[in-house]
């Protein structure tokens, strides 16, 4: 059992209340909020306004590697033991395009997945409070803060109309 992060957890049934809460906290200069939702929700995204994900970099690099691998493999292996078939050139590019393409997609897709996993693992959620209903119909908002600040945060959150607010951590 990882040690819990000190902070306040609020759960909302209503989208706009959650959004207000987030906006409010950001205004108060709280960073590193964690918002749980059952589905991506663009109101919340706006409220959090975070930079665009870097997954695309993974996709691009993976795809390019794949393309190189595809052509590299087919060309090198064809030339490694030259065997003539159907009077065609030993190293014939057109047929190898297919290989290049397939591996582009393959590597691209796999590295994208790798990207998702790595990037979303960058930020550890260890010890942050979570409730099952967040994956159902409730939006969760966890505000990490020092035990001293909890009281203030709590009172603020209660003002935004949550279902319930609880404090966490030693």
């Amino acid at each position: 059992m990882a040690k819990t992060v000190s902070g306040v957890l609020a759960s909302f049934k209503y989208e706009d209340s959650a959004v207000d809460a987030i906006k409010g906290l950001k205004a108060k200069g709280f960073k590193d909020l964690t918002v749980y939702s059952a589905a991506p929700n663009h109101h919340i995204d706006e409220a959090l306004d975070q930079p665009v994900s870097w997954v695309r970099a993974f996709t691009l690099i993976g795809a390019m590697t794949g393309c190189a691998a595809g052509f590299g493999m087919s060309i090198w292996m064809a030339a490694d033991w030259p065997l003539l078939v159907g009077g065609k050139p030993i190293v014939a590019i057109p047929p190898f395009v297919v290989l290049g393409f397939e591996l582009t997609i393959l590597y691209g897709a796999l590295s994208t997945v790798a990207g998702i996993l790595i990037l979303s693992a960058m930020k550890s959620l260890k010890g942050r409070a979570y409730k099952p209903e967040f994956s159902d119909d409730t939006i969760g908002l966890f505000v990490p803060c020092s035990p001293e600040q909890r009281g203030a945060v709590r009172t603020f959150l209660e003002g935004t109309g949550p279902e319930e607010v609880t404090e966490h951590g030693a």
């Binding site: 691998a69 493999m73 065997l83 796999l110 997945v113 996993l117 693992a121």
Partner: protein, 198 residues
């Protein structure tokens, strides 16, 4: 969770690596070591020892190290067709008897074996040797071409230094295509499939 991530990434990397890298199978082959004449003196062994020796036990404990090593009999003397046919030719009992009518063996261990040869000859019963170097039936190996190209002492290239083997054993897996190819590539000679496969 992190562990799972690492695993995930690992997989992706390995897939990439596999397609890119490809190692050459190592086909190190044992080169012909010229047996320097004087040093070869065959050890005294009885048929009982043949069990411990490498290689399969033969119906007659024939000593290549004595014949070819100690007495320096040319391979072609017994393997008569090796220079002009695809098959090297297995010596006929007649060939054996050519010498062993006279030669009865210097010591008891030899006499036992030579007696077997003479008996076989008397009973007109060919010796059934256990085959050591077998080539798949779909590969054709013309011995004569290789002797022509590499000279009469080429035998050891594939068969190892038989002249020092009390009992012949397989030095190279001659049935591995890679074994042939590595040599053919090295020497820049014919690599066409139908040179051997037809």
């Amino acid at each position: 969770m992190r562990k799972l991530l690492v695993a995930g990434v690992g997989v992706a990397v390995i897939v990439g690596a596999l397609a890119l890298t490809s190692f050459r199978p190592s086909t190190a082959q044992q080169q012909a070591k010229k047996p320097d004449a004087d040093s070869v003196v065959a050890p005294r062994l009885t048929v009982a020892d043949s069990g411990q020796l490498k290689g399969p036990k033969q119906p007659i404990f024939f000593r290549h190290d004595i014949h070819s090593g100690q007495y320096k009999i040319q391979c072609q003397y017994c393997h008569y067709s090796v220079a002009d046919a695809a098959e090297p030719g297995i010596p006929t009992l007649q060939t054996c008897m050519g010498c062993h009518l006279a030669i009865g063996g210097s010591d008891s261990t030899h006499r036992v074996e030579i007696k077997k040869v003479r008996d076989a000859w008397r009973q007109k019963r060919p010796v059934e040797w256990v085959r050591i170097h077998t080539l798949a039936k779909h590969a054709h190996f013309p011995h004569m071409r290789h002797l022509k190209a590499m000279g009469p002492n080429a035998c050891a290239t594939c068969h190892g230094d038989v002249a020092r083997m009390p009992q012949v054993f397989k030095v190279n897996n001659v049935n591995n295509m890679g074994f042939c190819i590595s040599c053919h590539v090295e020497r820049k000679v014919n690599r066409d499939c139908t040179a051997c496969h037809y």
